[in-house]
């Protein structure tokens, strides 16, 4: 009887382990020379769950060595002492930082702009909004807390002058979100979306709502909400016709790989479960480079 119990327990453990390992499978193609990054939002709360998600990010970094992480705001909650920065950024992401992974922050509504934009590891160079290029991809980190005419003029000029194949904008407040707590930022959408469409932005990353959601392409643009990098609002997602895939049961980070005209993505939970994956294809010959095709998407 005892042997049967032991056998059953071992089988159960092995089964669980195999499920976990299976869940941790990398779906990204790992192409040579590709641009590789992770995206996290609303992470800086210093909780065990933030650390656990950061640990999972590192575990995936070993299989998918991404060079940098874009931060979608609410990077440091509840204060700006050196202890806050240590407990909510430097320690949870120590393994990644030690491996030379760079972080590029955008500001959320809980961030102290005065301190964070001058904090070197956030790579903001004392700017509230900025742009940088990696390979054939140009990233635009925006300040959605304060979208004044100056920032809009800057963004318009930078988008106009960008010769990059891929243009990815990231900021805190989502233009589209099906979460109940905040939802879509309608005023920002009215202002930014025409600019994005006109200048061929293909992908927008945001946080603010503490869930993961991939929105069905809107006017040719793919929107991701990845605001559960530390905070989580379990059960907050009200899946609407906007939702392609949504997950609000655990913390999630997003991995992106861009190579040529293809962008692959994989969203991974704190326990290593792949909650979404797929690819987006850039149409280089027409439509101003807008991403118009998507395939292989999968949700668990």
């Amino acid at each position: 009887m005892q042997d049967i119990r032991r056998f059953l327990r071992s089988t159960l453990i092995l089964l669980s382990l195999s499920l976990v390992l299976q869940g941790q499978k990398l779906t990204l193609p790992l192409r040579s020379g590709s641009v590789r990054l992770a995206a996290i939002g609303d992470m800086g709360n210093g909780t065990t769950r933030q650390y656990e998600l950061a640990g999972m990010m590192y575990s995936f970094h070993e299989k998918f060595p991404f060079d940098f992480v874009v931060m979608l705001g609410d990077n440091i909650y509840g204060g700006n002492t050196s202890t806050d920065f240590k407990n909510k950024f430097e320690l949870p992401y120590k393994m990644l930082l030690d491996h030379g992974v760079k972080f590029y922050a955008s500001l959320g509504n809980h961030d102290n702009a005065a301190v964070e934009k001058a904090y070197k590891p956030f790579n903001m160079n004392d700017q509230q909004y900025y742009t940088f290029k990696k390979g054939n991809v140009q990233f635009f980190a925006l300040d959605s807390n304060y979208m004044d005419p100056k920032e809009l003029a800057w963004l318009t000029k930078e988008l106009q002058n960008s010769g990059a194949d891929w243009k990815i904008c990231y900021f805190h407040h989502p233009l589209y979100s099906s979460a109940a707590f905040h939802g879509s930022s309608l005023e920002l959408r009215q202002i930014l979306e025409p600019l994005f469409v006109q200048h061929g932005v293909q992908v927008v990353l945001a946080g603010h709502d503490h869930v993961y959601e991939r929105i069905k392409a809107q006017k040719g643009i793919y929107h991701f909400v990845a605001g559960s990098g530390g905070e989580l609002r379990r059960g907050d997602l009200r899946k609407t016709e906007l939702t392609e895939v949504g997950y609000d049961q655990d913390q999630v980070f997003l991995l992106l790989e861009i190579s040529g005209d293809e962008l692959n993505f994989q969203a991974v939970s704190r326990v290593g479960k792949t909650v979404d994956s797929g690819s987006i294809h850039r149409n280089s010959k027409s439509n101003g480079g807008l991403a118009t095709e998507q395939r292989d998407s999968r949700a668990n």
């Binding site: 204060g79 700006n80 301190v115």
Partner: protein, 193 residues
Amino acid sequence: MRTLFWVLAIASGLPGKSILVPTIQNEKPALSAQEAALTKDFSDRIKAYIALQKKLEASLPGLKSSNDSAEIASHALTLRVMIIEARPNLQQGNIFTPEMSAHFKSTIRKTFQEPGSGVVRRTVQEGDPPKPIVVRVNGVYPDDSPVITTPPTLLARLPELPKELTYRILGHAFVLLDNKTNLIVDFIPDAIP
């Protein structure tokens, strides 16, 4: 009431629904001579504040960026104290003069109450509320308090600020905030309807 707000908010977020919003393009109307004089006076006061800030900061060890957040925070705190000491007895209205306050209030009220202004109000309402504080000149916006997004439609209608300053909403007050020190430079009480 709160439920009704969320029902309306979620409904207005659905795709395909046409949303009436104020346009942000060319929002600054031509100014009358009186308004132009007011704006010039406002601009001069802003310039004087920035000149003071720069002069005081020049006396501190230079700090563009640092790996040490404590060093950045300490720099900001020192500058804040110096600014407070340099303008110790200033009251509400030191930059938002009564005439300018009236002009701002009128613009704010229009932006929040005109047809289609629901999205503007929503921008303010959907954020996490800041910690309640007594708003006063030389007061400090709490480091650990969230900020409300200042509606872009409103920003397009107000005089542009240098990057060292921002307009912020704190309850019903409209606040002029020093970006480097989180210091309340001036404010207009009861400006937000």
